[in-house]
Symmetry: C2
Subunit: 397 residues, 2 copies
């Protein structure tokens, strides 16, 4: 596996563009991503009961149609809680894009992100689609990655090559999402392209596997925003022997997993107001589910996050979060390590001098390891989060 340049347009046959059409005050707000031939496609969508119009439209298209050739995305408006008119607008976005590209409107997927409860300014969207369609090019990935951002401070792109079935295939991707993620439901969007030849089933399975190990480590199904989606398009231009199982599939999955993990970490690092990247690992759990639930409670605790922001070794807040997590905890078995240093042993203060042990120093780093050992089983799970600063509030007011 090797990193390359070019983002979503790095794989053969893909082009991209991002333009400013006035949905936002003064920033790029409309992107198109297109392939020169139809792609096998797979998607993962928000489980929020309130689903934005583009989520409904795109999901239905992937289920019924199964292939796609382009995605049109706007930021600055979520097209959510907009009823029939919103569904019509999402369909119309696809239609306008399809017309520009000369493909069937069924072949175009739609995504939106931004404030909820406002109708799309369709005249602007129409102009934006026309403009973006004329700008589609290999070097357009950075513009596209910029056009899908909301409160993000940096674009999130990656591209890699890998050898699968003896042939070099490429994967490119872009993402957005910069809320505190869970539990605050800033929309997370990710678009992944590949030129690999792969069956629809293998692509679906690979995406599910990759999302579980990446985006789902920073956000929980139940708490997703109304607009979340992760889409992967495979146009087959690499010409490899079709990937469908065995070593080839494993290799592809690993590469896709890497891409998704890197994007997920970029999202956390760009969390609203975030100054630190935090790995929360719970091990010694009686099941993977218990490890997950416990890690998530710790990673989501505002009190833990503010303590980490202030570099305070306040492990009591971690214990309290474990206690209300819903996981089965025996407090008298819990060990807690901050930055690799044991601060709590069997649920009590460890024999560790905060001043001398290096804990304070470890907590001042940009990247912090929180390790909880429940000493009650063999299962382990890591989730990624960021600290919680006053800046977060300022951004969301």
């Amino acid at each position: 596996m090797k990193r390359i340049r070019g983002g979503v347009a790095a794989p053969r046959g893909f082009v991209a563009a991002g333009v400013t059409c006035g949905i936002k005050a003064a920033a790029k707000d409309l992107a198109i991503l297109a392939s020169e031939k139809p792609c096998v496609v797979a998607g993962v969508f928000t489980t929020n009961d309130v689903k934005a119009a583009p989520v409904q439209v795109t999901r239905a298209r992937i289920l019924r149609h199964g292939t796609a050739q382009a995605v049109v995305i706007n930021s600055g408006n979520a097209n959510c809680c907009t009823g029939k008119r919103g569904l019509g607008d999402a369909g119309r976005m696809a239609e306008l894009c399809a017309k520009q590209l000369g493909v069937s409107h069924q072949e175009v997927l739609v995504a939106s992100t931004g404030p909820i409860g406002k109708f799309l300014p369709m005249a602007k969207v129409e102009k934006g689609i026309a403009a973006a369609a004329t700008e589609l090019r290999k070097r357009g990935a950075a513009d596209a990655a910029e056009a899908i951002l909301t409160t993000d401070t940096v674009t999130k792109q990656i591209a890699i090559t890998e050898t699968v079935a003896g042939t070099e295939i490429r994967i490119g991707a872009m993402a957005k999402g910069a809320g505190m993620i869970e539990p605050n439901m800033a929309t997370m969007l990710a678009f992944i392209t590949t030129d690999a030849v792969i069956t629809a089933d293998a692509l679906r399975a690979s995406l599910k596997h990759a999302v579980d190990g990446s985006f789902n480590r920073i956000t929980v199904d139940g708490d997703r925003s109304t607009n979340d989606m992760v889409i992967v398009l495979a146009n087959g231009l690499a010409g490899n022997k079709e990937v469908w199982r065995g070593d080839d599939l494993e290799r592809f999955q690993k590469a896709l997993g890497f891409v998704c993990c890197e994007l997920a970490k970029m999202i956390v690092r760009d969390g609203e107001g975030a100054t630190k990247f935090v790995h929360v690992t719970v091990k010694g759990a009686p099941s993977a589910r218990q490890a997950e639930v416990a890690a998530r409670a710790v990673a989501n605790s505002s009190l833990v996050k503010t303590a980490l922001h202030g570099a305070s070794p306040n492990w009591g807040r971690i214990m309290a979060a474990l206690g209300y997590s819903g996981a089965k905890i025996n407090p008298n078995r819990v060990d807690i390590y901050l930055g690799g240093i044991k601060v709590a042993a069997r649920g009590q203060p460890a024999d560790c001098d905060p001043a001398r042990s290096g804990v304070a120093k470890a907590l001042k780093r940009k990247e912090i390891q929180v390790l909880v050992d429940l000493n009650s089983g063999e299962f382990e799970r890591t989730v990624w989060t960021c600290d919680f600063s006053a800046e977060y509030v300022a951004i969301n007011v």
Copy 2:
């Protein structure tokens, strides 16, 4: 029902004191509350799996012993995650207090609040108990109310009189708790005294009823801190006909419910960094449980709370919270009112001009009404919360 002065020491036969013994840097940190005769007692405790030592000790005493004559409380240290030594320290606090008061140590309950994971400085605690015991008096309620605070900015006290079974009875109370409450688990403590003559069963039932309608509207069982407790002591000195059922019980319950509601609201108003008091009501739900779950999701959303802080009529964040709440929501039926003004109708933007409708003005008030009508049933539930300011982060760093 009439408000009177005197807090927890207002009912006949109760005295209180609060002193500074050095657990905190420089503030009152130890309180004693005592009755001249043994009291019928009832308690409600945290459901966190990690229970502080004083919670374990007090709960066991109430279950096994059934009566109590005093409570000793310290702030500045939670005596939690302190293992056997912590349990010993909690027992020793009761013993020291009992010795000073000349009562059986079984008659003394214990509570603690403050940082988790530190052993109690018992030499200081011992001095504090001795000092507080000599200062016990009718006018000591304010000192006691001050000594149990942590990040609270004001004391929380109330006392009332009510006529029950033809006799004037009194109820007094004090509380602490100033985190964002749920989901941030700042310890909530409340101590209630009454001179009513009441059976143990009636007192237990009344307390449960009162807590459900008050403290449980601001904090959920699953998310309670390691140290939460609500205790009521009834010494019977009012000499009324024993309360055990019927009108008398109803009257007592109502009075106790009022006291708990007032304390709960005081806690929310003093929420860390809070500048606004928010009523979140969900009506039209298919069950009380669904109304509760939906209201709580809205009240707990950091995005909703920051929007309210900024007086932003961003009802999309409310819709998103409803969508992930776990309650069964039909987005196309949801109406949302902010400050009494309909901002969303049937899941879409209402015909309401934000500038002219008065929404902006309503959101700038100190007290805000958020009303969600699910239009899917007959059930309604209100929870109380506060807004979310940058100050919260500053307090918890």
